[in-house]
Amino acid sequence: MNNILAKRSLFTSAKRMSSASKYVINPFPEQHEGGMKLWRNLTYFMAIPATIIMSINVYLHESSEHHDRPEFKPYEHLRIRNKRFPWGDGTRSLFHNPHTNPLPGGYEDE
C-alpha cells in the first residue's frame, strides 16, 4: 500500500515536472474499483434470467390465445389513402398483413 502511494506521488510529481503529455495516459493503473464483478453478476443473474422468463411468458401467450380479428367497420379515419403508397399497386402499407389489415373496402381474404 505504502509502495503504491509512494509510486503514485512520485509519478504525479514527475508528471508535473516534465511537460505534460498530450496523449491519454493512465496515471493510476490499478485505481479502478472492480465494478466489473457487480455488472457481470447483474447481467448473468438478473438481466438474462428476466429476459428468458419474459420470453417464455410471451411465447406461451402468443401460442395459446388467438382471438378472432375485429369485424370490419368502414370508419373514415382509418385506412386513409390520400396518396398511393410508392410500392406495388399503392393500396397496401409497408408491413401489410392480409389477415390482420383490411383494405379500405374490407379484409382481402373474406
Partner: protein
C-alpha cells in the same frame, strides 16, 4: 526530415469523405422525395449507396488515424466527446418532435376519432406482452454494455468480448421482435393519426436501434482486433452512450405510447 507538430490538435489530411458523404445525404433525401412523389426509386438507391460507402470509408480512416497513427490526443478526444454529446442532444430534439405530435393528438382526441384514444376501431398492442419483453431486453442490454465497459477498464478481454457480443445479440433480438410486431399489427400507418404517430415514433426508434447495434458490432470487431486500451476506447464509449440514449427513448415510448396510449 521528420515533421514535428508542437500542438495537440489533429490537422486532418485532405480527405474526400466529408464532401462525398454530404453529397450522398443530399442525393438520398432528394431521392426519397422523388420516390414519394414521382414513384421512381433510383435516385434514392444511388444516394443510399453513396452515403453508406462514404461513411464506411470516413470512419475507417478515423480508426486508422487514431489506432494506427496515434493522432488522437487528449485534446482531440475531448473534442470528440463534446461532439458526440451534442449529436445525441440533437437526436433528443428530433424525437421530442414526434412525442409532441403524439401528445398533440392523443391528449384531446378529435371528434372524427370518436373523442377517445386509442381512436375507434384501433386495437392497440397489449403493453404487457412483447412491448414489455422489449423493455426488459433493452434494459438488460444496458446492463451488459456497462459490464463490457468495466471489463475493458479492468483489462479482462474475455469478459469484454462476451458481454459486448451479448449486447449485440440483445439488440438484434429487440429488432426481430419489433419486426414481428409490425407484421402482426392490426393497424397500419394509414390508420388515423394513431397509426401515423405510432409508426413514425417507433419506426425512427427502430432505425436508431439498428444504427446502435451496428455501432456496437463495429466496436466488437475493433475490440477483437485489439484497437482499444484500458484507458483509451472512445469508439466503444460513444457506441455505449448512443445505446443508452436508444434505451431511454424506448422507455419514453413504452410508457407514453404503448402503456398510457392504450
Amino acid at each position: 526530415m521528420m515533421v514535428v507538430k508542437k500542438h495537440p490538435f489533429h490537422m486532418v489530411d485532405m480527405s474526400p469523405w466529408p464532401l462525398s458523404t454530404s453529397i450522398g445525404a443530399l442525393v438520398m433525401t432528394t431521392g426519397l422525395v422523388k420516390w414519394f412523389n414521382q414513384f421512381n426509386i433510383n435516385l434514392l438507391i444511388i444516394g443510399l449507396l453513396i452515403t453508406v460507402i462514404s461513411s464506411f470509408q470516413w470512419w475507417r480512416d478515423i480508426s486508422r488515424e487514431s489506432t494506427y497513427q496515434g493522432l488522437h490526443t487528449k485534446k482531440v478526444l475531448s473534442g470528440m466527446k463534446l461532439g458526440m454529446v451534442l449529436f445525441i442532444i440533437s437526436e433528443v430534439f428530433f424525437f421530442l418532435s414526434f412525442f409532441w405530435a403524439f401528445f398533440h393528438s392523443s391528449l384531446s382526441p378529435s371528434v372524427e376519432l370518436g373523442m377517445q384514444w386509442p381512436p375507434m376501431g384501433i386495437q392497440p398492442f397489449n403493453p404487457m406482452q412483447i412491448p414489455l419483453l422489449n423493455t426488459i431486453i433493452l434494459l438488460s442490454s444496458g446492463v451488459s454494455v456497462t459490464y463490457t465497459h468495466h471489463s475493458i477498464l479492468e483489462k479482462t478481454m474475455t469478459h469484454s468480448k462476451k458481454s459486448l457480443m451479448l449486447t449485440v445479440i440483445l439488440g438484434l433480438y429487440f429488432s426481430c421482435l419489433q419486426a414481428l410486431e409490425y407484421w402482426e399489427a392490426p393497424f397500419s400507418m394509414a390508420d388515423s393519426v394513431y397509426g401515423s404517430t405510432f409508426f413514425m415514433a417507433t419506426g425512427f426508434h427502430g432505425i436508431h436501434v439498428i444504427v446502435g447495434t451496428t455501432f456496437l458490432f463495429i466496436s466488437l470487431i475493433r475490440l477483437m482486433k485489439n484497437h482499444f486500451s484500458s484507458y483509451h476506447h472512445f469508439g466503444f464509449e460513444a457506441a455505449a452512450w448512443y445505446w443508452h440514449f436508444v434505451d431511454v427513448v424506448w422507455l419514453f415510448l413504452y410508457i407514453n405510447v404503448y402503456w398510457w396510449g392504450a
